[in-house]
């Protein structure tokens, strides 16, 4: 196994009585395209927030490229890019302004930030809408803008929380190709998703999280164990109660 880009040890977080993350351990090798999958409320977003320095853990350590996120946040944050689950964009900036702002915040010279912003807008198929306010963007355009903001400073590790939720297939394909190209150059991606087919298709490493714990971890083939990832996932986390017995009327057009 190569050098580790992401190392998580005993990460825990409580919200009042509820234990959102119950002590997870995770190792993602540099150059990996890793998926973090789990049902709703499993602790994916909480874990990613703690890994990226946005939520203080109760216990545990996170190292990115050997840098301790919570002991040296300045250095660790400099090497990561984050696409959160919900839009955290400045709605009253245009797409071009948003990307340039992101680059300049990350310390890029203004001209370089502007140039990279233009290239990213082209790649993400947003150039025609570059001067529209983010407030008027669709969900897919927002996701692509957030991805552009996360990439503009060329991070070595990229965290994405549900990057393809609400994204149309064409935009999804653009994002998929960009992520594959990004990891092809040796950078690392960790993303959470509900879409098993996507994870199965592009990830070389999968971690399954349920009730705040990692219940399976390894290469995609190891976690699948000869089944589809969807089936393996359901076997791991268990089926949820359906309560369909009470819908006997459904499907009848008589009333």
């Amino acid at each position: 196994m190569g050098e580790m880009a992401i190392e998580v040890r005993g990460l825990q977080k409580h919200f009042g009585e509820k234990q959102a993350v119950a002590g997870i351990n995770l190792d993602i090798a540099a150059g990996s395209l890793a998926g973090l999958v789990g049902p709703n409320g499993a602790g994916k977003t909480t874990s990613l927030s703690m890994m990226t320095g946005l939520l203080r853990p109760d216990l545990g350590k996170v190292r990115i490229n050997g840098l301790d996120v919570w002991a040296d946040p300045v250095a660790a944050k400099a090497v990561i890019g984050v696409v959160p689950d919900q839009a955290r964009l400045f709605e009253r900036l245009s797409g071009a302004e948003m990307l340039e702002y992101s680059g300049r915040l990350r310390g890029l010279p203004a001209a370089e930030a502007r140039s990279r912003a233009a290239q990213l807008l082209d790649t993400l198929d947003l150039a025609a809408d570059a001067r529209r306010l983010v407030a008027d963007y669709s969900t897919g355009m927002r996701k692509k803008t957030m991805l552009g903001c996360a990439l503009i400073h060329n991070p070595s590790v990229l965290f994405l929380d549900e990057p393809l939720e609400g994204v149309d297939p064409v935009s999804g394909d653009v994002i998929r190709r960009l992520l594959t190209r990004f990891t092809g150059s040796g950078s690392t991606v960790l993303f959470s998703s509900h879409v098993m087919e996507l994870v199965e298709q592009i990830c070389d490493h999968v971690s399954v999280i349920d009730k705040g714990l990692i219940v399976a971890n390894g290469t995609t083939d190891e976690v699948r164990g000869g089944k589809t990832l969807q089936q393996a996932f359901i076997d791991l986390v268990g089926p949820r109660a359906s309560g369909e017995e009470g819908l006997s009327w459904l499907g009848s057009s008589s009333s």
Partner: protein, 538 residues
């Protein structure tokens, strides 16, 4: 259909009562205010009995109500689910039946009832004799129908816009005239009335053209009937009924169209700039501080809430100073001090409005926090914000001070007021930076108001921030106020420039101290500030 919609409205009201304590309190307070409006309006209209100008004053009151019905539903579009035709577009109901139901829904609730009961005061104030009383009843009903149909035409015609970002911006901008009108009626008018600046006779000119508009038609019909001119009264009522009929027809047409028309949220705006992606952020030569100042500067211009905050600041300065200015009895030194106090309030409120920058910024703050981790960068954050706010606040407050001084007939008094503006802005913004870190709270946009407010459970935080900045600004700028008072007899040529320069330097020092303290505190609290930001719905 009417019965169904009335039941729907009553169910919505009942659900408000049982949903949460805050909603219950809000409902009870709203109902109490509606009762007060009904009683107050009734007594006011009844009190016009025997007045030479009773019909003019009644016209004015009817017109105020019409404007209320015109503006408030636009402002509170999200509050009443029955105002938006899009929520009903899926149901197989014919437009006319839908219109009847919506009309009944509009007339249901404490506020419409308060309108009817309050306006019935004309029976006492303006109506005389059996015919006068009968016409008064009909006129009140027609006036309320006019208000309801007018409101429905406006909200239905603008439904697509009101649902979109631009509509929400428009509603936010409406907050300013409503605030200004509130201050005018409750602060300025009582003062002017008590000093004889406004009398009943002031409304005679107003009535010469108002009598031909629907509210005036209603009021004059009552008077005509009371004076025995039954024909004229009937003609006026017929004209008013025709206006209501036309509005109702227009409303049904608009409703039919609104049910099958896309909203305007798909029509987006572009920012100015040359070339397709060449919309460079300004201040690109000034490093991180310039970058942050550029972002804050753009937001000050494009975010309606920011513009409304500055508008309110200006209104507050006017309200604080106008009483003495219009009083004509104040001594020059009292006037000067009053203008200085006006500057203090303006500056303090500029600080209050920005005393929770994390909550105001909302989730995008977490995006900034990923890049701003060191003490130096956080200093750049707060000072960048202050540069943008100062770029608007300083010229605005100074211009307001000089304008008010000119209105008072002492233009030179603008200098000491400007000195207070500069020191006060420094203190207010410095304290705003500190409170943004020390007492941050999530903000949200609740249904019924386009302005951001503290999230539920954080009212005490807001109160603490407001009180802290107001008192702190007062205490920190007290040396300037004392200096203005003590140097009153000194030559103006020396006193004015010294006061302004010293206050500016003092204000700058206060703002800088605030930035340093806030940055030092924020460096260890960034994750907690991020959580506040993420939980905001700004």
């Amino acid at each position: 259909m009417a019965r169904l919609f009335v039941q729907l409205k009553l169910r919505l009201l009942r659900n408000a009562l049982i949903s949460s304590t805050a909603a219950r309190v809000s409902f009870v307070v709203s109902t109490i205010f509606a009762c007060l409006l009904a009683i107050g309006t009734f007594l006011l209209l009844a009190n016009f009995r025997g007045s030479t100008y009773s019909v003019e004053l009644t016209s004015a009151i009817f017109t105020v109500f019409a404007f209320g019905w015109l503006f408030v539903p636009v402002f509170a579009f999200g509050l009443d689910g029955t105002l938006d035709p899009a929520t009903l577009a899926l149901y197989p109901v014919r437009t006319r039946r839908l219109a009847t139901g919506l009309l009944a829904a509009s007339a249901t609730g404490a506020w419409p009832l308060a309108n009817v009961l309050g306006l019935l005061g004309v029976i006492v104030g303006l109506g005389h004799g059996p015919l006068g009383l009968l016409v008064a009843l009909v006129a009140v009903v027609l006036q309320v129908l006019f208000c309801i149909t007018l409101a429905r035409v406006v909200t239905t015609g603008m439904a697509g816009l009101l649902r979109s970002r631009r509509g929400k911006d428009l509603a936010a901008f409406l907050f300013l005239p409503i605030f200004a009108a509130y201050e005018l009626f409750f602060q300025v008018v009582p003062k002017l009335a008590s000093e004889g600046g406004i009398t009943a006779a002031s409304f005679s000119g107003f009535d010469s053209w108002m009598r031909w508009l629907p509210p005036g038609l209603a009021a004059h019909a009552i008077q005509d009937a009371s004076d025995g001119h039954a024909g004229t009264a009937a003609a006026r009522l017929a004209a008013l009924a025709a206006v209501v009929a036309v509005l109702a027809w227009l409303w049904v047409r608009l409703l039919g169209r609104a049910l099958v028309t896309a909203d305007t949220s798909t029509q987006s705006s572009r920012v100015r700039g040359s070339g397709r992606a060449r919309t460079a952020l300004p201040l690109d030569r000034f490093g991180l501080r310039g970058t942050l100042a550029a972002r804050f500067w753009i937001y000050q211009r494009r975010e309606p809430t920011s513009l409304v905050f500055w508008g309110i600041t200006a209104v507050i300065m006017v309200v604080v100073s106008i009483r003495l200015i219009l009083g004509k009895n104040a001594t020059p030194s009292a006037l000067e001090l009053n203008l200085v106090i006006g500057g203090l309030f303006g500056a303090a409120f500029a600080g209050v409005f920005h005393a929770n920058t994390v909550g105001l910024t909302g989730p995008p703050f977490a995006f900034e926090a990923l890049a701003l981790t060191g003490r130096r960068q956080l200093r750049a954050y707060f000072s960048g914000q202050n540069i943008a706010l100062g770029a608007i606040g300083i010229p605005l407050l100074v211009a307001m001070s000089f304008a008010l001084a000119a209105l008072a007939g002492h233009p030179a008094f603008g200098f000491p007021a400007a000195a207070e503006d500069l020191a006060g802005l420094g203190a207010g913004l410095g304290l705003a930076s500190i409170f943004s870190v020390a007492l941050p709270y999530p903000m949200e946009r609740r249904a019924g108001t386009p302005m951001l407010t503290a999230a539920q459970g954080y009212g005490s935080y807001r109160f603490g921030d407001t009180l802290g900045v107001l008192l702190g600004t007062g205490v920190l700028t007290s040396p300037v106020i004392v200096a203005v008072a003590l140097t009153n007899a000194d030559p103006a040529a020396v006193r004015m420039p010294v006061l302004v320069v010293c206050a500016a330097v003092y204000g700058l020092a206060l703002a800088w101290a605030g930035v340093r303290i806030a940055a030092s505190a924020a460096v260890d609290r960034l994750p907690e500030l991020c959580q506040v930001a993420i939980h905001s719905k700004a």
